[in-house]
């Protein structure tokens, strides 16, 4: 479903070249649930943006649902759902309900399918209380649920999320995790998320990838991850060790 082959993206910043992602290769099959870890500035968001066609890779090959995202962006958009935890993809001044309606128009979702999908999402994400409010008046947790619903209205095969649980309280977090887990198990949606919250990884992800300095530093199950550091008992300890040794080897 998602395929990266030595994908890279660099940015020219004045005279210097920043390699945000380099030689990144991995494959994610349909129906997988993958979590992506990595220290700040590792290249996670850049990778996500290459997957949905926002950024064109400067080297290598990217395929999502068999399409080259940067060349077939609008075709891919119908098959992928994208959530940026840090920033809404909704329209600031429009009420949530109107944002959804606009998305229906943009994606050309037929009215009946839209109705039942929206009812279902309203029910499972509890959107009813604030659907009439403009997006700018929503709390972070409400907005995140709105964003999730917006990304799923067109029933995509793949959902990619960049830090979907950032800034949420424990209850909201649990709600969103539960929602994502059911989406993956009941509807078979492929999910790839990035996070700094190790709880997301422990509770959701059968497979973990760790990106560091734009490269894949680890790829395997949670047990594999724990096994990289025998003697350390918590995931925090293991990840801390991986992040700090990554920094040393990069020097």
């Amino acid at each position: 479903m998602i395929e990266l082959d030595r994908a890279g993206r660099s940015f020219k910043v004045r005279r210097e070249v920043v390699h945000a992602v380099r030689d990144l290769s991995f494959t994610i099959a349909a129906g997988e649930f993958v979590g992506c870890l990595g220290p700040n500035g590792a290249g996670k968001s850049t990778t996500i943006k290459m997957l949905c066609g926002i950024l064109t890779p400067t080297s290598g090959r990217v395929r999502v649902a068999g399409l080259d995202p940067s060349r077939r962006r609008t075709t891919l958009a119908r098959r992928i759902g994208v959530v940026f935890g840090q920033r809404t993809t909704l329209w600031w001044d429009l009420p949530l309900r109107d944002s959804f309606e606009l998305i229906r128009l943009l994606y050309n979702v037929d009215r009946v399918a839209y109705r039942s999908r929206l009812d279902e999402l309203t029910e499972t994400l509890g959107l009813g209380d604030f659907a009439a409010k403009p997006v700018r008046q929503l709390s972070l947790g409400q907005r995140m649920r709105g964003d999730l619903a917006a990304a799923l209205l067109h029933a995509p095969d793949v959902l990619v999320l960049d830090e979907p649980t950032i800034g949420l309280d424990v209850v909201s977090k649990a709600g969103i995790r539960d929602f994502l887990r059911r989406l993956n198990s009941e509807q078979g949606t492929t999910v790839l998320l990035t996070t700094h919250d190790l709880g997301d990884i422990e509770r959701l992800c059968r497979r973990v990838m760790l990106i560091d300095h734009g490269r894949l530093a680890f790829d395997g199950t949670l047990d594999d991850l724990m096994a990289t550091a025998p003697g350390r008992s918590t995931i925090e300890e293991v990840v801390t060790r991986l992040y700090t040794t990554g920094r040393e080897t990069a020097r």
Partner: protein
């Protein structure tokens, strides 16, 4: 494409009416705007004299023809030059994940019908000039052609101005001067300008094809600068010749888009 545009513009216009201001306020505003439009027309009529060999009515014809095209573009396409704001705010990313061209999304973003009055005003001036001038009816077919040509030329200039902002994200004002300047420039008969300027404007940016060259044909006049008469008909060619590089520049801009770091 067009139907998507209309759907989006309609959604925004409806939202503007429902949530921005109360309906009464909109109505009052609309009346005031219409009144100022009438005032502007009166000022234009009073202040226009014969200019550089062109009569009062001929000047109004050239003004009206250019302004109809310009105001139309300002209302329906002009929003694309707000792209640098969207890039900086990160909202451009959101446009790129939708299955509709970001150009259309930008153009319709926060679409509001309040600028329709300006188009009506320009059209009124043009209609008056057409009625007042004793024109050869066999040449009037050129009027709609020149307006469409003007729309395409201005839309292309706006698209070029927007494409530049992918690189020069901090220079939207400069770019703005470029599109609005083009609109201003075409409001007067080109015979008021120096020959070198006209040459530059005719060949480099084909602004002379917005109203000057085809307008000369409609008016049945020779070019004071002595360009051959086949030039009167090159408007559509020039428009396509500008639209193509504009489209390519836009695509290039998207491919080189850098998003934001956070």
């Amino acid at each position: 494409m067009v139907s998507t545009y209309i759907l989006l513009a309609w959604t925004w216009a409806r939202a503007a009416m429902a949530y921005r201001a109360s309906f009464a306020l909109m109505a009052v505003l609309g009346t005031v705007l219409a009144a100022t439009d009438v005032a502007v027309i009166l000022v234009i009529f009073a202040n226009t004299t014969s200019l550089a060999g062109f009569s009062h009515d001929e000047v109004l014809f050239l003004y009206g023809a250019s302004n109809v095209a310009f105001c139309f573009c300002d209302m329906f396409v002009g929003n694309v030059d707000r792209i640098s704001r969207h890039i900086k705010a990160g909202t451009f990313d959101a446009m790129l994940i939708r299955p509709v061209s970001p150009w259309i999304q930008l153009a319709t973003d926060n679409f509001s019908p309040t600028r329709a009055g300006r188009i009506a005003q320009a059209a009124a001036v043009l209609a008056y000039a057409l009625a007042a001038l004793d024109l050869d009816a066999r040449r009037l077919w050129m009027v709609p052609v020149m307006i469409v040509t003007g729309v395409v030329i201005f839309a292309s200039l706006w698209t070029l101005a927007a494409s530049v902002q992918f690189v020069l994200t901090d220079a939207p004002e400069v770019v703005n001067a470029f599109t609005y300047g083009s609109g201003q420039l075409t409001q007067y008969p080109f015979s008021v300008y120096a020959r070198d300027l006209v040459r530059g404007v005719t060949y480099a940016l084909p602004l002379a094809f917005v109203n000057w060259q085809p307008g000369l044909y409609v008016l049945g006049r020779d070019d004071p600068f002595g360009t051959p008469s086949f030039m009167r008909f090159l408007g559509p060619v020039a428009a396509v010749g500008l639209a193509l590089p504009a489209w390519l520049a836009w695509r290039r801009g998207i491919r080189h888009y850098r998003s934001t770091g956070s």
